[in-house]
């Protein structure tokens, strides 16, 4: 009920997650070659098949010889891949018996982020996996979830404990050759989350992962895999923050979702990586591949994202609608301010019959930023009665920012119905004045207008994260009107 006063409290604060924690780290030497890949694999004590898989990815990546995707509507200087540390792990005891044994500095880091790893978190019904730099440092509620057969653990642990599942699904949605950054991730990914929901189980709590980059000059490459068996349901949330640093840091993650018959996966992201300062110095390059497959009939995958951070965002959470009657959804709010650039959207690949997809994208640009929506709706020959509805709205604050829409529609079946609506509006002086006349100052007025604009997407987020996300919108647009 008091979301507005919270917005107002936070509206004046700078990027508040910009602190650096003094945590001893175990790092790989700078640079990337086959030895780096072997180093990471050995550090994680991985089986031979996993190493082979990584090496295959690495060899493919090196054959690409620096050919990053050129089509996104973003600009950045060339990345020196030999100047990045590919593995950094907080030094701490291995085999934690419980989270109580965690390094106190680590614990403090997560407390500062407002994430309690204590089991008290149970009351809020959220299980948390915390990933700092390259490794998962703890997962809560494992035991309770295990009673239902739900596996929720770090990817490293999954490779050790559930190799058959990992082998069966890893790389099936995003192959190692998918794109430049996906290949890179496949070679050097260090951790991430793994979820497995068994047949018929409705996961009783939100599963969530908090990603945090801490160490300097490191890249973060996490890998997430979620498998929902027949008739199961899971809601998953990821949150991301990073310290303020003058250098750009690379984050190249891969997320794969697999939904079998009648399964439903709801995946929400609140991305708040450090966006760089007002002059555009520093910030995270967020080059992420996220894709889900509705493999079974009547399955459903829903992506919701609130993107406020990162210097550059390049990401297209997609759904392959393979099963008949399956449903794909994409709800996105992307905010860019100052010098931020975002090229984000989705791909809906209709392969099965009677498949449906819905795209709601809300782009908000301020400062001298650039915000692009890029979306593909593909209806294959056999996808009878496919249905898509896309809505892309852009809101501009000021007159130095840009909003762009790149919709691609490929329809190979005549029975398809594909609708696309797009609007661009400017936040109106008259809207601000109307609020002012009712006693509301301009910052709060902007927050009201922006949150109103984004409401349809915000409504898709789990309640407590929705409030967090509203605050974020207000913070990211601080000082953009006035």
């Amino acid at each position: 009920m008091n979301e507005i006063s919270t917005i107002e409290k936070t509206v004046l604060s700078e990027y508040k997650y910009g602190f650096v924690s003094d945590i001893e780290a175990d790092e790989a030497p700078k640079g990337l070659n086959e030895d780096t890949v072997r180093f990471i694999s050995a550090k994680k004590n991985e089986p031979q098949w996993m190493l082979e898989w990584r090496l295959k990815a690495y060899r493919h990546w090196s054959r690409l010889a620096g050919e990053e995707p050129k089509w996104p509507n973003v600009k950045y200087p060339p990345i020196n891949y030999q100047d990045i540390i590919y593995y950094s792990a907080p030094k701490q005891k291995v085999d934690l018996n419980s989270l109580d044994e965690m390094d106190p500095e680590l614990r403090r880091t997560f407390e500062k982020l407002g994430i309690s790893l204590n089991e008290q978190k149970r009351l809020t019904g959220v299980a948390v996996d915390a990933v700092i730099d390259s490794v998962s440092i703890g997962t809560t509620f494992k035991v309770q979830l295990a009673e239902l057969g739900v596996i929720f653990c770090s990817m490293s642990e999954a490779i050790q404990e559930h190799p058959e599942l990992v082998k069966q699904y890893l790389g099936t949605v995003v192959p190692i050759t998918d794109n430049y950054f996906a290949s890179l991730n496949s070679a050097v990914f260090s951790d991430g989350s793994f979820c497995y929901i068994p047949k018929g189980v409705r996961c009783p709590m939100e599963l969530s992962t908090y990603f945090r980059i801490n160490a300097e000059n490191t890249g973060q490459f996490e890998r997430t895999l979620i498998v929902a068996e027949e008739g199961s349901y899971v809601s998953y949330l990821e949150g991301c923050t990073a310290p303020m640093r003058d250098e750009n840091q690379l984050h190249a993650a891969v997320v794969e979702l697999v939904a079998l018959d009648r399964a439903e996966i709801k995946y929400s992201t609140v991305q708040n990586w450090y966006p760089g300062d007002k002059e555009g110095k520093g910030g995270i390059y967020n080059f992420v591949t996220k894709r889900g497959i509705c493999r079974g009939e009547s399955s459903k995958i829903s992506w919701t994202q609130v993107e406020t951070g990162s210097a550059i965002t390049w990401k297209y959470p997609s759904v392959i609608l393979k099963g008949d009657n399956s449903v794909g959804e994409f709800y996105s709010v992307a905010v860019t301010n100052n010098h931020q650039q975002a090229d984000t959207g989705t791909k809906m690949m209709h392969l099965g019959k009677n498949t449906k997809s819905r795209i709601v994208s809300k782009g908000i640009s301020a400062g001298v930023s650039n915000n692009s929506y890029r979306g593909l709706v593909h209806v294959s020959k056999k996808a009878n009665n496919a249905r898509n509805f896309s809505q892309c709205d852009s809101l501009l604050l000021g007159d130095k920012c840009g909003a762009h829409t790149f919709p691609y529609i490929e329809v190979k079946n005549n029975s398809a119905i594909v609708e696309h609506e797009a609007t661009t509006s400017k936040i109106g002086e008259d809207q601000i004045f109307y609020c002012n006349q009712r006693g509301i100052d301009t910052e709060t007025a902007v927050a009201l207008v922006v949150n109103g604009f984004a409401r349809e997407v915000m409504n898709q987020l789990p309640m407590e994260f929705a409030i967090e996300a509203q605050k974020l919108l207000a913070i990211s647009l601080e000082g953009s009107v006035g």
């Binding site: 008259d430 006349q437 009712r438 009201l448 109103g452 604009f453 409401r455």
Partner: protein
Amino acid sequence: MLTIHNLHAGIEGKEILNGINLEIKPGEVHAIMGPNGSGKSTLASVLAGRKDFEVTEGSVEFFGKDLLGMPPEKRAGEGLFLAFQYPVEIPGLSTTNFIKTAVNEIRKYRGEEPMDALAFLKLMKEQMAMMDIDQSLLSRSLNEGFSGGEKKRNEIFQMAMLKPKLAILDETDSGLDIDAIRIVANGVNKLRSKDNAVLVVTHYQRLLDYIIPDFVHVLYNGRIVRSGSKKLALELEEKGYDFIKNEIDVSEEVNQ
């Protein structure tokens, strides 16, 4: 409470208000009438603090404070309310949420604690009953898809919730049928007290059948050219604005 002294204001170098003088005391209802383009809405906008207009001369005091030196949100905090001629739409923002924010921002300005959810709800219910407003209207996005009548009723409802000391009604009757005018006017009348005042800006006399003014002023070419009682409004209705125009234009010619 409000003293306007020799107010000159314009937009993009063009002078619209040409030396307005006006005094409003608590408990009074003033009506400003005038033909199109006479500066009625400009006066309302300048008092509320719309940025488009530039004040070139004169002063406005509101309870002894310099009104023109305050940003619009402070003017609202001080108790000035403008019912807009064209209420603005904010998609996705519920009317309730908007009003709650306004109520609490004004309370904050006055150094009061924010109203808790329960007290706010109670106040809403009371005012809804009084203003004959439906709950469903308030849960919709602010003014989005509202009919003309709904928009104006919503303005008066906000006035009821914010309890201003001075309410300026800018052409609140425009675009309304006679039933809607009656509802809106009833709302305004219920809010009248000896402590607050109303400034009704209107083109037509008919609204003044329901909100009875103590004073009527005729605005022409950015100046108040006649002031009088309710009778003046009736006279205007009967003779049209031309008789005033002719009178003024002739006298100006003579003066030149």
